[in-house]
């Protein structure tokens, strides 16, 4: 422990593998690494509070327990669902390793729902089909409508069993890179301990980012308050690129006005979306698989129904999820949590009344670019040795322009496991990169700004204005004009951010200070999202440009790669360069996407 001139206590730790984030991906990595090498997991939350626990519907794997299925069909569905922006080699790995991933979890103790003969039960989910789109297939392995909760609990239980070392309520705020043998290599991360305000430097040979998403850039979101994208933001501030940030998924069925998620499983079990006229409108948009079309198509269809005046409710601004034709015992057995959400938060009884729903910001398809070994990339193909990323914060890319439901719980398990395995493989051979003397200086600067913030602007007001502009200008529908408006607004908010106030002056549990720092990351990521969305002048998957309504494979069947430039922008966004990266195609040439 050392004390510097600012009175900041700094503690030093050394582990072979340092994992940032204790959601599904982070803990899956820890289970792989912990038994072999000295491993630390650092998390801003107690592990079971992570947002993996909010996932509901299931985890895809072609187990073929209830009907014929194959990993190849799953690969095809993933590629097509992602509107052909998926790296197909990565999708093959996801689909192939899915079976092992589910069996791993079952063997760890996950209480999946069972078939009458005792196998893991499976159900339908959007975009998952038999034989290349012929009909919906039962591929989702599930535990009622709390599959994510069960995955998170099971992974944590296994970590307890293995004696994994956790540092909970530690906010990682910086990644320390150092020159080593002529290359930039990760050396450590710096974390702020919530309970004390002390700093901790965690030196690691391998450093794994598994920090989740950043849904709090939007107002209407299914994401937790804590999902502020700190991990992705840290990578961005290090001058490393971010991939496909314009692709953000809006989940069709958020509780209207609140954004709380109602699982796609509701439609997998037979739920139907209706407009104010009672019409099953998805028949018009996706004649074959209707309500089980992929999320981007359903979300847009819903938004379109509302735009064209067929929305329900007094303001005609939502549609209805109808479960009333399902037997109450099916609802109780398969969808207990989400029907309770409808009762608790909207006072609606799903047995007898349709539930008001509208798209809610849900999932980042893009993030930190990695290869299939989860190694982080510093450009289209150069690996940053010793740095890994997995889960929602990463972009490998298995989700392309639109993620299929149940593929994210799969992603965190398949690529979380890989991250653990490759982090160990690397750390066995590598040396520790010495920690530079000024390791905490960046974090000190951040903290100093927030600690001395005695301005007049409130963090919550700036955050709300950011979320408002993102909802208005960078949601399901986008145009050059709306994106420019968002860019201008973010620039204005950044100026006002210089004049914020932080009222809590203490060291203990200073969440006031952390909210100010988190807001900085939200600005960074919003800006990257808006810039890449502006440069992608086509419509694909979750990214829909009203001024470029069709997919343009000739120019844009490429991943975006955003880079932070080291300059002060005269106009908003000038310090961001958007480049492109080829998509890996193995077996599936791009085709028109119809369902």
């Amino acid at each position: 422990m050392s004390l510097n001139e600012h009175g900041t206590k700094t503690h030093h730790h050394q582990h072979d593998v340092v994992i940032v984030g204790a959601g599904g991906a982070g803990m899956r990595a820890a289970i792989e690494a912990g038994p072999h090498l000295k491993t630390a997991v650092i998390s801003k939350l107690f592990p079971t509070r992570s947002h993996t626990g909010a996932a509901q519907g299931g985890m895809a794997a072609a187990l073929a327990n209830v009907e014929e299925d194959s990993w190849e069909w799953h690969t095809f569905d993933t590629v097509k669902g992602g509107d052909y922006l998926v790296d197909q080699d990565a999708a093959e790995i996801l689909a192939k390793e899915s079976v092992e991933a589910v069996i791993d979890l079952e063997n760890m103790g996950l209480p999946f729902n069972r078939t009458p003969d005792g196998k893991i039960d499976q159900r339908r989910f959007g975009g998952h089909t038999r034989d290349h789109g012929k009909a919906p297939v039962r591929r989702s392995c599930y535990a009622a409508d709390r599959t994510g909760h069960m995955i998170l609990q099971t992974l944590y239980q296994t970590c307890v069993k293995l004696g994994i070392e956790f540092f909970n309520e530690f906010y990682v705020l910086d990644l320390v890179m150092a020159d080593y043998n002529g290359e930039k290599r990760p050396s450590a991360v710096v974390a702020f301990e919530l309970a004390t305000g002390d700093l901790h430097v965690f030196q690691g040979k391998s450093i794994v980012f598994a920090t989740g998403g950043f849904g709090k850039i939007y107002k209407t979101t299914s994401n937790a308050h804590t999902l502020t994208g700190d991990g992705v933001g840290i990578i961005w501030r290090k001058g490393l690129p971010l991939e496909d940030m314009e692709f953000y998924q809006f989940h069709p069925t958020g509780l209207a006005g609140l954004g709380i998620l109602l699982s796609e499983a509701a439609r997998g079990e037979g739920g139907i979306l209706r407009n104010a006229l009672g019409e099953r409108f998805m028949e018009r948009y996706a004649p074959t698989i209707k309500d089980l079309a992929p999320r981007d198509m359903v979300a847009r269809a819903m938004a379109n129904e509302v735009r064209e005046g067929r929305g329900a409710g007094p303001n005609k601004d939502y549609v209805l999820l109808d479960l009333t034709h399902l037997p109450p015992e099916v609802i109780d057995a398969k969808l207990p949590d989400i029907t309770e959400f409808a009762r608790t938060y909207l006072g609606v009884e799903p047995y007898t009344e349709p539930v008001p729903v509208f798209p809610t910001a849900h999932y980042a398809m893009g993030g930190i670019p990695t290869n299939v070994k989860t190694e982080v990339l510093s450009d289209n193909d150069t690996v940053v040795r010793g740095l890994f990323a997995a889960g929602e914060c990463a972009c490998v890319s298995v989700h392309g322009a639109n993620r299929l439901g149940t593929n994210s719980l799969l992603d965190i398990n398949v690529f979380g496991k890989r991250a653990g395995r490759y982090a160990v493989e690397y750390a066995r051979e590598a040396d520790f990169v010495p920690v530079p003397e000024n390791a905490i200086s960046e974090v000190e600067k951040l903290l100093a700004i927030a600690r001395n913030a005695t301005g007049t602007e409130k963090v919550a007001v700036l955050r709300k204005e950011l979320q408002d502009t993102m909802d208005k200008n960078a949601q399901v529908y986008r145009t050059e004009e709306s994106l420019n408006e968002a860019l201008e607004k973010i620039a204005e908010l950044r100026v006002r951010y210089q004049n914020i106030q932080v009222q809590d002056r203490g060291k203990r549990f200073n969440t006031d200070l952390l909210e100010a720092i988190e807001l900085g990351f939200l600005f960074d990521l919003s800006e990257v999202l808006v810039m890449t969305a502006r440069e992608r002048r086509e419509s694909r998957g979750g990214h829909f440009r009203e001024d470029y309504e069709t997919r343009n494979d000739e120019e844009f069947m490429v991943h975006s790669m955003a880079y932070k430039l080291d300059k002060t922008p005269e106009k908003p966004g000038e310090d961001i360069r958007v480049d492109w990266k080829p998509v890996t195609v193995t077996n599936y040439p791009a085709m028109e996407r119809k369902y």
């Binding site: 209480p111 729902n113 069960m150 909802d471």
Partner: protein, 246 residues
């Protein structure tokens, strides 16, 4: 969208007073109740009101929260004398003619405002071996009938929020008692047909700080935001100890 909520809501908007128990040892050892008046909407929860205070009135008000819809278990607190999740308690369902009293859960040391030291609670959880104990090495999934799966379904819902344990009068007077949440999590494995560790867990819970301290006051069952039949689960564990098996 938030503005539209007014229309969906039964109650458009109204003013409530929250009385919050504040404590920050960095400032003073003294505990004080502070009242705040906030305007809220019909779909607002106690968590929204606390955020309003933190974001608009006093940034130093400190509490844990994350998912904001009752699945992460961060924000258990005592609201009008009952343990609840702040994010699952709609303000309109409380008596809003009176101030709403908000204080930390009882029986764990208060760190700051509504934040308590959860470590003793987590330790009791870890002590009951909360993981599958099985020596077989299956190549595929282990089989389990839907009936066997249903036997422990209720106790898989636990989110470790501590609402049950910190509503238990036995736990208040004896912090060494394992408490309802740890027993619920033991139940989840003891009654899982795949598990082989029941004997060890039953032995642990047969301890003087184990299940026999439960006095069946049902506070825990009433407090559980997940609707788990906690007292029933404890009774089933007691039965299993007497029988020597689940």
């Amino acid at each position: 969208m938030v503005d539209d909520v007014k229309v969906i809501a039964e109650v458009p908007s109204f003013t409530v007073t929250l009385m919050v128990r504040r404590y920050d040892p960095e400032v003073s050892e003294e505990v004080k109740w502070v009242d705040y008046e906030v305007t809220v909407y019909g779909t607002d929860r106690v968590l929204d009101a606390l955020h309003k205070i933190k974001w608009e009135i006093d940034g130093s008000l400190t509490f844990r929260r994350s998912c904001a819809h009752g699945v992460c278990g961060s924000d258990a607190m005592r609201i009008n004398g009952r343990n609840r999740l702040a994010c699952k308690t709609l303000i309109k369902d409380l008596d809003i003619t009176q101030p709403i009293y908000v204080e930390p859960i009882k029986g764990l040391a208060v760190e700051k405002d509504l934040v308590v030291n959860m470590e003793p609670f987590y330790k009791a959880y870890r002590d009951i071996n909360p993981f599958l104990i099985a020596n077989d090495k299956p190549e595929k999934e282990r089989l389990q009938s839907p009936e066997d799966r249903a036997r422990f379904d209720d106790t898989t819902k636990c989110i470790l929020c501590a609402a049950c344990t910190t509503s238990c009068p036995v736990f208040w007077t004896d912090g060494q008692y394992f408490g309802p949440a740890a027993i619920v999590n033991a139940h989840r494995f003891i009654f899982d047909s795949r598990d082989e560790g029941a004997e060890v867990r039953l032995d642990i819970l047969n301890d003087k700080e184990g299940v026999w301290r439960c006095r069946t006051t049902f506070n825990c069952t009433e407090a559980c935001p997940r609707g788990i039949q906690v007292t029933k689960a404890i009774a089933e564990v007691k039965q299993a100890i007497l029988k020597g098996r689940p």
